[in-house]
Symmetry: C2
Subunit: 736 residues, 2 copies
């Protein structure tokens, strides 16, 4: 980390993200003992050694600790084999049988296993111990100690057990190997090129990939799909003759406990195998996949599995052969099963050639309608991967009902760390609170399980589309690193408070916040919280209102275009007319989508009175004068939130300007954030003015009340010298 990637110009150095040297200070100043062997333990040793070298501590490694004598006395000054006793160390990380002596020393009752990735953590008698059954657990425990900083070595604390809620915590990279003529190097990528690929070949930047793996391990991610789910010609070949490129990446990720997955082309047997069909029930097709998969595992023994986008937005799939998606998924699952691999089968299947004139077709219904009849038909190593909402990663959607409707299917919830619809890493938009809401949503009401619990119990996964790229700050907007970090942490433990996770990220990423121990440090922390805690809701305020979604520029999806998708085939409409707007998805008079939810939500969403304000226009078509629970009319709410959203961004920008003087933030990072805040403010204003003007022109209803003064201006608007219309109160808010 921190090493120049291509040149020695410091401006080209890759940013350390949440693992700057400073974040290892507490651990690196200690005497560390690592007990255990194997690749991942060696990673821990190397990490500890690097930290101690920088900060004055020391590391002792008992590589063969697994065979350490059972009679070594915990806590004493030495052991029979000449190793100093545990008491000679400040931190002990011990694996498997090697850890046995330390259990008692740490006062930890050993009941049950810690699992493949879990660890126990305690501090007693001046020694901090991390114990794990398996190497990955030791690695995660190590990074836990890093996160704790000095707190890991202060007061004693009782044993804590940590295990990930979800077995698989995965990033999907929508990276192309070739530069695609439309989607370029990274589809929906806003962070420069790909970490893995450049201009048709593997990028070969091993330092960068290793650094990435290290960041991911530190936040708990354990799986990475290395290519775009839209699998083009060159990318198809990663499965066979270009497999070496994938194996090379796997070699770099493996030391950090990360398995590689591959997005594959369902038509591979035709495209690569020369077969006349890719029919999942064809024997030759099955053999081809079996043999091809065997070869993959010969190269990459810990290969994670396949990711498939089939019959979606032009990708091939089982429908082409009259087969079901279960038959399609099972074809690949069967090939992967002998090797312990998994197929992630995406549920993002809908008609993208819908007739906008046809109000009976509802894209929101698609995943449920396609997949719930298949519940129970998927093989055990097939995971159905559904976007968190029924549409497409909007800033506000209800939770996808498919997640509550597949009890006999392994489910992965897919998030989008890359900010396609949430500001494309030009806007500050911390997504932790959005993801947390989704993960904590209880489809069966307050007494039922959460979405996270459903996914975990199904043996499923959490997945995010990665927002990282070859950009030196990893994510274009430096503050967007927090989304990557938060995804990993929430995937490990969905119950974490997203603001606490953000605070963790701030502490790690901006050591000035803590190490300065000063007013300035607190100011910086406060500023970051002020900018980021509510940034998702701020983004929601100035963009499409009340859950109706979209209203973005077609194609690139950045910036406003209220009617941009209104008359297209994409199934994303708002149906605004002069009287009102919103999509009637009720059972009573609409598309019936509300019926896809179990009670109580099927009733809550159906009811105009009970439907939460923030989702009103997702479920109902209402007049502009409809009264919200918050007391505003819909039209007034639109106006108010759009004015308020921009004001919040302006404050955000001002706050950032003010931290410059304190000098606790790297100059380049400061400048990058400042420039992006300028753009965010410009763009937020554009959203405000377009949305407000559009609805003012359409509804003819004037702005009624100043959000800031509470004063009323019920009079008609009047044109000023430029033809713009002002309301008459002193707030001087403007429509165009």
């Amino acid at each position: 980390m921190g090493k120049p990637v291509t040149t020695s110009d410091p401006a080209d150095e890759v940013h350390d993200a949440w693992l700057p040297s400073e974040s290892f200070r507490a651990l690196g100043a200690r005497r560390v003992l690592v007990r255990g062997g194997g690749t991942l333990v060696e990673t821990v040793v190397r990490e500890a050694e690097a930290a101690c070298e920088r900060h004055g501590g020391s590391v002792r490694h008992q590589a063969h600790g697994d065979r350490a004598p059972a009679d070594s006395v915990p806590g004493d000054g030495g052991s029979g084999d000449g190793t100093p006793g545990d008491g000679a160390f400040d931190l002990i990380l011990a694996l498997g049988r090697a850890a046995a002596p330390s259990w008692a020393a740490a006062g930890i009752e050993r009941d049950g296993t810690l699992g493949a990735e879990g660890y126990a953590l305690a501090r007693r008698g001046g020694v901090t111990v991390v114990l794990a059954d398996e190497p990955a657990g030791l690695l995660y425990g190590f990074f836990h100690v890093v996160r704790l900083g000095e707190a890991a070595f202060a007061d004693a604390f009782a044993a804590q057990r940590h295990e990930p809620a979800l077995r698989e915590r995965m990033l999907d990279h929508w990276d192309n190997v070739d530069v695609h003529p439309v989607t370029r190097q990274v589809e929906r990528g806003y962070s420069g090129g790909s970490i893995f690929w450049r201009d048709g070949v593997a990028r070969g930047d091993h330092d960068r990939v290793r650094a990435y793996a290290r960041l991911l391990a530190a936040c708990g991610i354990n799986a990475v799909a290395v290519n775009n789910v839209n699998v083009h010609a060159t990318e198809t070949r990663l499965l066979t003759d270009r497999l070496g490129d994938v194996a090379a990446i796997a070699d770099l990720l493996r030391p950090y406990g990360i398995r590689v997955h591959l997005s594959v082309n369902f038509a591979s047997p035709v495209a690569l195998g020369g077969l006349p069909t890719a029919d999942p029930l064809d024997e030759a097709v099955r053999s081809w996949w079996a043999e091809t998969t065997r070869r993959v595992y010969a190269s990459i023994p810990d290969f994670g599995g396949y990711v498939v986008k089939a019959d979606s937005e032009g990708q091939p799939g089982p429908f082409g052969y009259g087969r079901s998606h279960a038959e399609g998924a099972n074809l690949l699952a069967e090939a992967l099963a002998p090797f312990g691999g998994t197929v992630h089968w995406r549920a993002f299947v809908y008609d993208h050639r819908q007739d906008w004139r046809d109000r009976s077709t509802d894209r929101a219904r698609a995943a449920y309608d396609h997949f719930t009849p298949l519940d129970g038909l998927f093989r055990q190593n097939a995971v159905l991967q559904a976007k968190y909402g029924p549409m497409d990663f909007q800033a506000r959607e209800p939770v996808s009902p498919v997640l509550a409707a597949m009890p006999a299917t392994r489910l992965a919830v897919e998030f989008q760390a890359t900010q396609e619809y949430t500001g494309q890493q030009w806007h500050v938009c911390y997504l932790g609170p959005l993801w947390s809401e989704v993960l904590g949503f209880r489809p069966w009401g307050p007494d039922g399980r959460t979405v996270a619990e459903v996914a975990a119990a199904s043996g499923g996964a959490l997945v995010a589309v990665s927002n990282a790229g070859a950009d030196r700050f990893w994510t274009g907007h430096p503050l967007a690193q927090a989304n990557l970090y938060a995804f990993g942490r929430l995937a490990w433990d969905p119950r974490l408070d997203p603001i606490a996770v953000l605070d963790e990220w701030i502490t790690l990423t901006f050591p000035g916040c803590s190490s300065a121990q000063s007013e300035a440090g607190e100011r910086l922390r406060g500023t970051l919280h002020a900018m980021m805690d509510e940034s998702w809701r701020t983004y929601e305020q100035y963009t499409a209102p009340l859950g109706v979604g979209f209203m973005v520029r077609p194609g690139h999806h950045y910036g406003p275009d209220v009617d941009g998708y209104e008359y297209t085939s994409w199934g994303t409409y708002h149906f605004a007319d002069r009287d009102g707007l919103g999509v009637d998805r009720t059972r009573a008079t609409g598309t019936g989508f509300t019926g896809q939810y179990p009670k109580p939500w099927s009733d809550t969403y159906e009811s105009l009175d009970q439907c939460p304000d923030e989702l009103l226009l997702f479920f109902h078509h209402v007049p502009y004068t409809h009264l919200l629970h918050n007391g505003s009319t819909v039209i007034q709410h639109i106006y108010d939130t759009h004015f308020s959203g921009v004001e919040r961004v302006a404050r955000m920008r001002l706050a950032w300007e003010q931290i410059e003087a304190d000098g606790l933030v790297d100059r380049d990072l400061f400048a990058r954030v400042r420039d992006r805040l300028d753009e965010q403010l410009r763009c937020a204003r554009e959203w405000r003015d377009q949305i407000n003007t559009y609805f003012h022109r359409k509804s003819g209803i004037s702005y009624q009340r100043c959000a800031d003064t509470g004063a009323c201006c019920a009079e008609e608007r009047r044109p000023d010298e430029n033809g713009a219309s002002h309301c008459r109160c002193r707030c001087r808010r403007i429509f165009f």
Copy 2:
């Protein structure tokens, strides 16, 4: 012509357009004498020889006819040098002094000259004569005889003199040498690749370029700019180290009387010359242009000159140096003057970064505001090239007022044969009537001059952006060939009836119409007229209403998107709200654009009562209920014309289907046209439904009257089972 270009598959043969072998039958069956020498006369001889070889006639060429003895007796059986007398020929084409004997024979009074391109034509005593002072005249006269067909050899007719109204009749090719990442090989090209360039190099298809030159000469075009006015990096170098490519094209066009022009980068002194500035008043810059231009003429002695798009849509220009556009244009004019070259300076200068909120800025004003202060300041060899309308090649715009406001400036009127905004050669849209309206427009009222007369008197030009490309039918849509043909013919004589020109084109292009002399031939001619005569007005009917323009999908400009440009920086708005739409460009309450016209139009356009219906929304913002002169309300007119436009296209398509059986149309051409009519119908329906639905949603006003039945249905619309709204009358027209 007709020769395979790359393979011998007949399907790859380039279409003959308006010069099929059959169109030379009358001439080719005659005894032809050509008198005169030089390149262009040799072209005439070669053309005549090829025709006679195919159709049984004969050609005699007196290359040194210029020195023919003065005493040869016209009309007798022989001459002193052994040449048969004129009476031995059916057709005599004679040049300059060589023509002298023929003047009297043809009974033509020789008064004044015929000019550089004029010719006289007569038939007397069984001999048809074409006489010219200069070689180009002979070539144009030759093609006149081709157009006449058998009529050239039937009844005697008195002498006609023909001279082009405009000295320069030019095509601008928006062809890129490199494939541009956004605009591809040809910007706004809908006919395959470029005739001249492919993938960064000259295409080197000499046959194709020659065939093109021949088609152009046959309709009267005498100048071609061979590269895009947006001059990118590679194209900039055509001026210097890539000049050889241009010279090679010039060599191919020269035999058909066509001069080559080059679009140049105003910043060439910097980009190519290594100078620190391109300031037009800088002495080194002037020297650079002088020397560079001298070199151009050393390679291409008949080089036409430069075309410049400066300070427009991102192109560099004199504004960058604080200089005026006259100073910019004069810089190049000065360099060209010693060699007789001309600079075409485009008047398409406007602010493409306009704030849509600012209703005081009016893009329509831009050319006038920028250029009229410069009237009289341009050098004699500078031509100001203005688009015919104040906006950008819309299907309906008023004539640009700049054309009536620059009395001391040479003016070129620019049309767009390539159908950027008129259906992109997927839609039948014969533009002759549009161009004819513009050319015949009288800015000073019925007693004043026409636009064509203004341009001609100024010593200006008519220019069209070419619609031809590497497509085997030249223009994508075979019927779009008519636009290229009509442009040439109207540029030669703007007073021609565009429908008569179309008929000429039909006769030449579809010999089956005449040669069959049958009912089927007449049916074909009738069908083509039925499809094409009104096709521009049909297109206007189903697209943006009443002159308001745009409403196209941003970027590619194909298909509808009512609000696509409404909130952008491009200055193209309709300002529709729930009460009405249109742009107030009056002096009284709007942008004042009407004041750029002389009387009577400044008053006509200003007046809501007098403004022509078809331009109403260009000049006025009116309520949907405003009554048009035609008795409809604006909203009802929108509905009616959109229904009617689609019905017309449906009839067009049906008519075309019915001519297949007669077999007078080449199968490939038939199929190409049929496929494009399918797309036109689909697209027209999309326009209809989007426009009508948009305005129905916005106005809330129902369809009031059936265009086809005249019945009334003032009732409210009601939703059908699909949620679509039907009016209740039996016409069942649908809103969505």
